[in-house]
Subunit: 126 residues, 6 copies
């Protein structure tokens, strides 16, 4: 089993609905350091899992959908809680669409929201 | 598959029995940076794996059982080698008890003992 | 010259006025990992620069003034650009007030805003 | 499931063949921070996965095969692309040979090639 | 005293002349994680030390002079030992030229060459 | 101004006398990640601040005086509080003796005792 991972980051504002979120129910923000891990059983003819440049560019294109935005006002997130878990899942779906032509396997998206907490979503790309 | 992870640390003294431990057979100590990863297939109605605040508090409560202690003199560890692996397993058991009411899934405990070595234990919480 | 440093973090929403800020002129947010460094020429009678527990608590109290807030709506920041530099200076002033009784020397506040950028302010506490 | 991990690093020069590698087709170099993770279901009688000292020494012996070399001129790599994925697989094979007498289980080798990209190979040691 | 810092990285091949360099006398390579710190006594009217975007772009332009190259074959480095110290000084000079129009103060360049060693050069930009 | 830094770590047990230390008055332990920074105005004829190999070996020799020990029982520390600040100063003195023949300048020793606290001592080597 081989893995290649690339990293980038984005910064957003948002608020979370539900008592469980305590002070995070108020509008606040976060920097998320994002890691995208691509996993496959076999390498391509070039001896790679995925072209790192392609992976970095695809990730940057996905994060541009979120970066410097107030998620509470984005149509795409109307009525949903943009938790770390949700955002990891959203980025997974968007990135899967963009890399599908050159990658099939498992994709794991991890979002570090601070030095004491992070979250991730993992699923297949087919 | 979703994961949420939280981090904290504790500091202890101990010694290890067995030739394999070399100089660590003498009483010495360590700072352990601890990561607890909670993994589930589905999110709760609030859109989360586990409440991060609850997870951080439960982890802090468990680490208070160990922090600033000489493990060689603790009743709970009489006759056992408090290796990194053992301590990861011990913290797993204690944390599982405390979060069971609000989390079922896989729990992985990782202890970084220095910048060149770490250990972990992973098991289910039911 | 001795230094003791402690770390914590906070999460806020804000926007920045001025063309130089590009997309950061829109309401967005950030997680800031904060390090407070205390520097003195001599140690106290206990052999320390400052009590680490006291330093961590004072820093936590200061960060509670900012954490989970939209800085654009805070009275304290009306008419100012809450850049990383400004926030480092603000935290310096607030922390200096709280530790002055037990610390005189140089205090440096560093805010990591992402894995590729950070800022700091350094000044004396008398 | 228990894991023990150890870290070291090595520095090499090499070039990569194939258009997909862009500027990396020219002779350049890299520092790789390497993590070796050993995973088993059960601990030994000493309460460990593997002796950390033995693991660090075995890893150091394997990295000495690569460290401070121009891989383009090494017989062992004639005709292959020494990608991060390939090197992770190569180190896995070499390390497996050296630890087999005292470890059976899963071995994962991760190579960090920069602060924005890393790769790994995972397989069993029997 | 205010500081703003930005980070990037580059990968090169080179060899070092002199017995003191031991195995590094052979052609090998390295990834350098680079931090550029800009320090001034006063903020600009926008409340900043330097525009982070401008700083990141200027650093990227300087690192492009080095990235993916064999320094032993570059005209610019003929007859010099491209040690970490030398490269930090070289990057300082190149970056100073590019930011001089919008920054006066102290500039410190740090190159992490592995997880156990780093070097830096610090000087004024006027 | 040039700097070269090297890193290593050590693990000890100790206790601290004085109410200010709270629970750390009990015998406990710590892993300290240590960084030694060497700073000079001019490079040697080889183009370096100090030979990194020599620096790493000298640091390792100094840390061997502390590693895997209970400092409460060491003659060298009788009657002193082995705080992070004190240990940084002690390591500075021991390392200065060992590198004096090949280095004059400023030496800074930093001890990370956890992911939220570190301390350092800085002084000249003549």
């Amino acid at each position: 089993m081989y893995t290649i991972a690339v990293k980038d980051h984005f910064m957003i504002a948002h608020s979370l609905q539900g008592e469980v979120f305590g002070p995070a129910q108020k509008l606040h923000g976060a920097t998320y350091n994002v890691t995208a891990e691509f996993r496959t059983e076999r390498l391509s003819q070039d001896g790679i899992v995925i072209d790192i440049g392609l992976a970095l560019n695809a990730l940057k294109a996905v994060l541009a959908l979120l970066n410097y935005k107030n998620l509470d006002e984005e149509e795409a997130f109307r009525g949903v809680n943009t938790t770390t878990e949700y955002l990891a899942h959203y980025i997974h779906g968007q990135l899967a669409k963009r890399v599908r032509a050159s990658f099939q396997g498992t994709l794991k998206i991890t979002l570090e929201e601070s030095h004491v907490a992070w979250g991730s979503y993992e699923g297949t790309v087919t």
